[in-house]
Amino acid sequence: MRAAYSVLCVDILLAWRLGSISLVLAFLFIALTLVPFGVGPELALLKRLAPGLLWVVIILALLLSLDRLFQSDAEDGGFDQLMLSSQPLELLVLAKLVAHFIAIILPLSLVLPIAGFLVNIDIAALFPLVVSVLVAGPALCALGAIGSALAVSVRRAGLLTALIVMPLYVPVLVFGANSAQMALLGGGIALDAILVLAAMSLAAMLLAPLAISAALRGLAS
Amino acid sequence: MSDYGFYIWASYGVSAVVLGGLCFFSLTDYVRARRALNPTEAKV
């Protein structure tokens, strides 16, 4: 277990030091700033769009940040060490996913209220929005990592990774954004949508490490 | 909206172009691959 735990800690520290989270947050706000320039600053319109809009911008920010997930390890040879470890690769990958969740998704959810106020989000939808992002977070990390692992041997894989991951993100986006939207209509948290998100996250965290390990074993050599 | 003819012709036309193009390129690749081996293989 110790190898997994150390992977976890190292990854969180690295993400913190390298500032990858600040890049994601910067992109979030920049993209959000573009929206009123595009659709006009009318507050009622922004209020209606807000939950889905925030979700789409989060997805875009994640899609763009994914390619560095495994490539930095592949470049400096960290992979060979991981694969020589006595721990099963799947476990180490799971540790990496958890680290990604803690390092990226948690700060993102903390920042969401500020981003929400930029687009005049309805207060009633704010809490359901944060909940939906937190519950869907593991799925987002796991599915994104699959794309990142598949493209690990490709130079400049950013757009390729985004292309691969986009269909995987569609179900998560649908349930996540709409669970926040539904809060606008019906008040409170849309429990059935949140449960579907939770199921997706659980399944993704269990199954993605299998695909990721299979990909890394074949590709990182 | 009574000009259904355009939509029907357009649908079949696009399908013909896409499928025809695919068949054309697949078959020409095949013929080229066969010809490349012709000097060394006595089959056409």
């Binding site: 269909p167 | 259904y4 029907i8 357009a10 079949y12 399908s15 695919l22 068949c23 095949y30 081996l37």
Partner: protein, 244 residues
């Protein structure tokens, strides 16, 4: 003396034997495909106009079989990828790679004919209807799959990555369908499915089925053509370049 049951799958795993089979099937497949296609087109234009949709029901004869093949194509890719990855069948990767552009073309046809079918009905070129949206996502799945094959230089790494993507994507397809259906009912409370099928009576069913068979034959004709091209190219490379 032990009589062994012929294991067709492994018998044709040998590329040489496969080439023999492919050559034997080549002309029959193409000829049958063209014949059934002609028959389907003839039946399609003979069918009387549907009382609800008028002449545009003829678009359905291309749209629906194309959508079937789009889905079949990806299922086929996933199936042979599993054979290649888990059971290590050597022709699996080849078949998957060859089938991808064919499936993508059928998906494109389904999308374009879907839009053309919808325009005379509802006056807009595109509707985010559940089925069309699912097909659009499927199109991006194909594009991602083909892009992955082309992005990785080493053939072994590329085939392995593509196989994993095919399987992951295949699991994703029903999930996407489920999500898009849910999303659609959420945003269209007057929930009459926009592409409600006309009542299927024989005049419409037969051309549809014939076109479906024609497209299926075309799929396999194109598939073995492309697979043969790839094997022949590999042979040429080997002869010219010494051993790989």
């Amino acid at each position: 003396m032990r009589i062994q049951k012929t294991d067709w799958l492994h018998y044709y795993a040998n590329p040489h034997r496969f080439m023999g089979l492919a050559q034997a099937l080549f002309y029959p497949l193409w000829v049958c495909a063209i014949l059934t296609l002609s028959a389907g087109l003839y039946l399609g234009f003979q069918a009387p106009p549907d009382y609800q949709q008028g002449e545009t029901v003829r678009i359905m004869f291309v749209h629906v079989p194309a959508a079937w093949m789009a889905l079949f194509g990806y299922s086929f890719i996933a199936f042979v990828s599993i054979l290649a990855l888990i059971f290590r069948h050597p022709l699996g990767h080849l078949a998957a790679r060859a089938a991808a552009p064919i499936g993508a073309c059928f998906t494109l046809i389904a999308l374009v004919t879907g839009a053309l079918w919808g325009q005379p009905m509802w006056g807009t070129w595109w509707v985010w209807d559940a089925r069309l949206t699912s097909v659009l996502v499927l199109f991006f799945v194909y594009i991602g799959y083909i892009s992955l094959w082309r992005a990785i230089e080493s053939p072994e790494k590329a085939s392995r990555a593509a196989a994993i993507l095919a399987i992951v994507g295949f699991i994703n397809v029903p999930i996407v369908k489920f999500s898009v259906d849910w999303w659609n009912t959420l945003h269209q409370p007057a929930s009459v499915s926009r592409f409600a099928r006309p009542a299927i009576h024989p005049d419409i069913l037969y051309p549809l089925l014939v076109m479906g068979v024609a497209f299926m034959l075309l799929f396999f004709a194109l598939l073995i053509t492309r697979m043969q091209s790839e094997i022949l190219n590999q042979r040429a490379r080997r002869r010219l370049g010494g051993d790989l």
